[in-house]
């Protein structure tokens, strides 16, 4: 009776183990990663799944005669062998190398190697995965980043040089046209006077465009280091700088307690100054009321400049931050359309962004964010 029970129990145990074996075999065989057990002395595979040989285009019988380094060039094989020696000491490691398929194609592979004990022998448990596509897109991305930063540098240099060297001939055109007006106004016919006026006007406008371009390119080329900056001091300075237009328009500027942040101080002054100056410039019939606020959100500071000015139609909201974009006729509001483009560039140089909400005839709120490096 007892023996019979024991035999039953034994059979049951065997079945359980068979099932467990079957289960793990399935996990091993059907893995999408190649799994191998390798003898560290010969580097020949002791065991491997189908994926391992299929990946490199070999049959099971062919694959078992090949050392893991046989899939590599002599150069990388040497490195791999050395690395495996290190892994034997350290217990595990991950390496990337190139394997050749049977047809001679190269594949980037990542090998995760673990030293385990099987039947009292130390063996290498290797899982490897084809990362060729990943490597290719990584290389493509790197090429693109290199290309982009190169063309960006060139563009900045170009804008700077062009605006600098363009000043000289422009000065000649403007100055001599002004001389012509001064000395010969009324002596030629009225057409000539008008033409000369257009030359002077065109040259003067081009001058301010070039100056704008120069300022714009300087944001990138002449930026200073980021230092701890008290925004209260920045805003005080801005108000001092804008004193004349504040008095002329009767503008009222209010602000609460503003934070200390890490920034290029002079660029931050420029950023606030452009926004406050705009808030004053585009005022409605009422005298300008401007409120500056700051709040902290998602590890960044958001600053807002609210005004009660003429506002901006929704369809133009995207355009206003682009270089040389203007919404008004020159007789209405003068300007080159560079101010907000500079603001955007400064915010972006600090890792932040700039945006606007506006209701026509009621006012606008410009916001920009600056990452909080202090991590408060």
């Amino acid at each position: 009776m007892e023996r019979k029970d024991n035999a039953k129990l034994f059979e049951c145990e065997v079945n359980k183990r068979k099932q467990a074996e079957q289960r793990y075999r399935t996990l091993f065989e059907q893995s999408l990663d190649s799994i191998l057990v390798i003898d560290p002395k010969t580097l020949l595979p002791i065991e491997f799944n189908d994926r391992a040989c299929q990946e490199l285009g070999y049959s099971h019988d062919e694959f078992k005669k090949l050392r893991i380094t046989d899939h590599e060039s002599t150069e990388t094989a040497k490195i791999t062998r050395k690395y495996i020696d290190e892994i034997m000491l350290e217990g595990q490691g991950i390496l990337e190398t190139e394997h050749k398929t049977k047809d001679g194609y190269k594949k980037h592979v990542q090998l995760a190697v673990n030293v385990i004990e099987l039947n009292c022998n130390k063996v290498l448990h290797v899982i490897y995965r084809d990362i060729t596509q990943y490597k290719q897109s990584e290389a493509r991305l790197k090429r693109m980043v290199d290309e982009l930063s190169r063309s960006n540098r060139e563009l900045e240099q170009f804008a700077y040089v062009a605006s600098h060297d363009l000043q000289e001939p422009l000065r000649m055109v403007a100055s001599f046209a002004q001389l012509l007006t001064k000395r010969y106004h009324g002596q030629l016919d009225s057409d000539a006077d008008e033409f000369i006026d257009y030359i002077v006007d065109g040259a003067t406008r081009m001058q301010s465009l070039i100056n704008g371009l120069l300022k714009f390119s300087r944001v990138g080329t002449q930026g200073k280091e980021f230092t701890p900056t008290d925004v209260n001091v920045v805003v005080e300075e801005v108000i001092r700088n804008l004193q004349i237009s504040i008095q002329e328009t009767g503008a009222k500027i209010t602000y609460g307690e503003l934070p200390k942040i890490t920034a290029d101080t002079s660029q931050l002054i420029q950023l606030f100054q452009n926004l406050v100056a705009n808030a004053i410039k585009f005022h409605s019939d009422a005298s300008p009321q401007i409120r500056i606020e700051a709040y902290h959100r998602d590890r960044q500071w958001v600053f807002s400049i609210h005004d009660n000015g003429i506002g901006i139609e929704e369809e133009y909201l995207d355009r206003i931050f682009q270089i040389f974009q203007r919404l008004h006729r020159r007789e209405q509001y003068d300007g080159t359309g560079i101010g907000l483009a500079i603001c955007k560039r400064i915010a972006e140089r600090h890792g932040g962004r700039i945006w606007v909400d506006s209701v026509p005839n009621l006012g606008s709120s410009f916001h920009f964010s600056i990452p909080d490096k202090e991590g408060k």
């Binding site: 600098h164 000043q167 422009l170 000065r171 000649m172 100055s175 001599f176 002004q178 001389l179 002449q222």
Partner: protein
């Protein structure tokens, strides 16, 4: 306006400038501002130094009262000319006004490091340019006291 002293004898100006249109503009500005002057023009840095060191055909040339110096010049750069003037014991007291279109911070710093007496960016506007020329004359020959002797207004 200049006082009696500066009206007695014309101010001798050395203008170092390679652009003939710019030279003409300076001449016109001097004329319109009625500054009595004796303008000497050097078209590059080497010529400027020849004049100042009284070399060759300039052997009989007296020293200027003031130098208006452009920075970007052919052959010898304006910065080198400035350095040479300010390290030459015979020339270093002559006021050197750097008059250039460059607004680059590095140019400004370098000019003062080499002891430029002042640095002025040329304006595009003609009236402003005239004002600047007039101001230079007024400042250096009416307001400022300079030592007597060769190279200075007596």
């Amino acid at each position: 306006m200049g006082n009696n002293q500066s009206e007695i004898r014309p101010v001798k100006i050395l203008l170092v400038e390679d652009n003939p249109a710019d030279v003409r503009l300076t001449l016109e500005a001097l004329k319109e501002e009625r500054i009595l002057n004796n303008l000497l023009v050097a078209e590059d840095g080497l010529e400027a130094l020849d004049i100042l060191q009284q070399k060759g055909k300039y052997a009989d040339e007296s020293l200027p009262d003031i130098v208006l110096l452009d920075l970007n010049l052919p052959r010898k750069d304006g910065r080198d000319v400035l350095k040479q003037i300010k390290t030459d014991n015979r020339l270093k007291r002559i006021p050197v006004v750097v008059l250039t279109s460059s607004e680059a911070e590095t140019d400004i710093v370098k000019a003062y490091d080499y002891y430029a007496n002042c640095y002025i960016t040329k304006p595009v506007d003609w009236n402003q340019f005239k004002t600047i020329i007039k101001t230079i004359e007024n400042f250096w020959f009416t307001i400022v006291k300079l030592p007597r002797g060769e190279g200075n207004v007596k």
